[in-house]
Amino acid sequence: MSDATSSARAQILGGIRRSLRRGELTGEDRSAVAKRLADPPRGPSVARGQLPQAEKVALFCQWAETLNATVARVGPAEVPGEVSAYLARNNLPANVAMAPSPLLEGYDWAGQKMLSIRRGRGQGSDQVSVTGAFAGIAETGTVVMATGPDHPVSLNLLPDTHVVVLRESDIVGGYEDVWGRLRARYGKDLMPRTVNTITGPSRTGDIEQTIELGAHGPRRMHILVVRD
């Protein structure tokens, strides 16, 4: 740390402590806050998302559609076919950029003769991406993307059309359940570089407060909710 940085740091922290009329937190005060950080209390629970799993899935689909995504509920064997069919139905190109994810292995992509698949990060020219999802949030129809070598962030953002493959068992009630899953997978306090929670396609209301889809991110989001 350079001298300038450490003195600026001391200036700000010292200013805060002077205003709060105390020194650095110590003793019981400090352990109380440290405990709150180690074992975070939850806020008021939101009843909407607290449902049996089947109803959570239904609520997820309902909100996702309300918020401008489209949803197809399919069995595992139908996933590649639904991707092809969706692209054909919407006159979209059959060249897709796909996340190199274990979540997407095990589907018979080779059986889709029309699909041309490139695995890797997103590029400016990509029209369609296909990715898995770390979780879905029933409360708001939100998909959660945890990025990593198997899920480049750019696939969530650059293409015009984002196709998301989400397993029913990965749909949870609210944000708190997602945090729990992230901690279980990556460890407490450890996060992947980027976690995107995405609710429907990109949008803007910046011209006359009227919503237009496809501002910078995808114009279309199609979610395949897969029975497992």
Partner: protein, 472 residues
Amino acid sequence: MESTAHAFKENVGHALADPNLQDSLAKLKVGFSERRRQAAERLPEFEALRDRARDIKNHTLAHLDFYLEEFERKVIGLGGHVHWAPTAADARRIIAELCQSVNARTVAKSKSMVAEEIALNEHLEALGIAPIETDLGEYIIQLRHEPPSHIIAPAVHLTKDQVADTFLEHHAKLGFDKRLTERNDLVAEARYVLRQKFLDADVGLTGANFLVAETGSSMLVTNEGNADLSNTLPRMHIVLASIEKVIPTLEDAAVLLRVLARSATGQESSAYTTLNTGPKRHEDLDGPEQYHVVLLDNGRSSVLGTEMQDILRCIRCGACMNHCPVYGAVGGHAYGWVYPGPMGAVLTPQLVGVEEASNLPNASTFCGRCESVCPVRIPLPKLMRHWREREFEKHLTPKAVRQGLAMWSFAARRPALYRRLTAMANRVLALFGRADGRYRTLPLAGGWTRFRDFPAPQPGGTFHARWAKRKA
């Protein structure tokens, strides 16, 4: 940006006479506030969440030093860097040096009110670094060389036709020489033009809605996805955030997110809520190689522990301005600096000085709608009243107002005199007649009656007199 808060009255004159602005504001009054009401009604826990959101922010402010240090520790542990900026000048210098360290020519910026507060764009431009605003609204006003007029909808003062003219003027040289008439075409053209700029940018600069101490993450909420492109594609990601943006944990973020989008736009959830934590990991296929967080104080630490501390809870949703009759009449530019509306009327005197901005806390009828919708329950009218008191103490209040207040206070502290004076005023006013209960004109009160009627005294004397009669 240079403050014109001192010229509030002249600014208001222009705003009221601007037909485009008045059209836009008329839409604002029904749009945001009605959608917020519906979103709040759809969530039975909304009021309980507001209470919790207030408590979380209060807890954090009482332990702000601790949480900032925790946040810093986590960011450094993941290979990121934290820079402390006591003043706006410090933050500008730090960001400029970071940009220069990678020989940046362009910076993809996602909307940040703190960047407006420190006038970052002007500073970078002077150094030959081009900041490119990527939020559609910010992009439009950057082309027009205007400041934002709303903290979440920066171009809300403009009509579609004005945007079309601006795009034609600036995009014609890129081959877009047809004037567009549809909103979706305007959005598509901006998307196309900005996409290339994202791909070329050397640095991505974003603000933060929250900094999570538990994980060292910066959290950003947008609808367009521009912030996510800004923090993913360039090789350096700089987060600029003020110190009060830190919150303890992800659980706290869940509470705040539930009230933020609903209060701001009436959405159940914004389209993108993103957590960024450190630079790209070794094996990641994309993401920035460098991750820097610039923590700005700029006077905030001195607000802690004072009667104004509550303003530091603000999560910048804009609900107070969406519901403010004064903002609704004059728009954001009239406030003369970065933060308009009720939250601006409280924050601006703090940041630029009460001498410059004393008009703003006076631009309120104290109707209380701002406080009634604030997701973190900031008592905005009370804080504006504190500023009025400080203004009075500092002798900044205009002489006529001071003398009027002094006379009133002299009389009000002497009940017998007060009753005699009001009874006399009542009789004098009665000389002008009570025909229909109001006066359209009145001698010496032209300033009042030019815009509204003055109520005529009721028969039977003053309130005091009638009350005494009734009790007898």
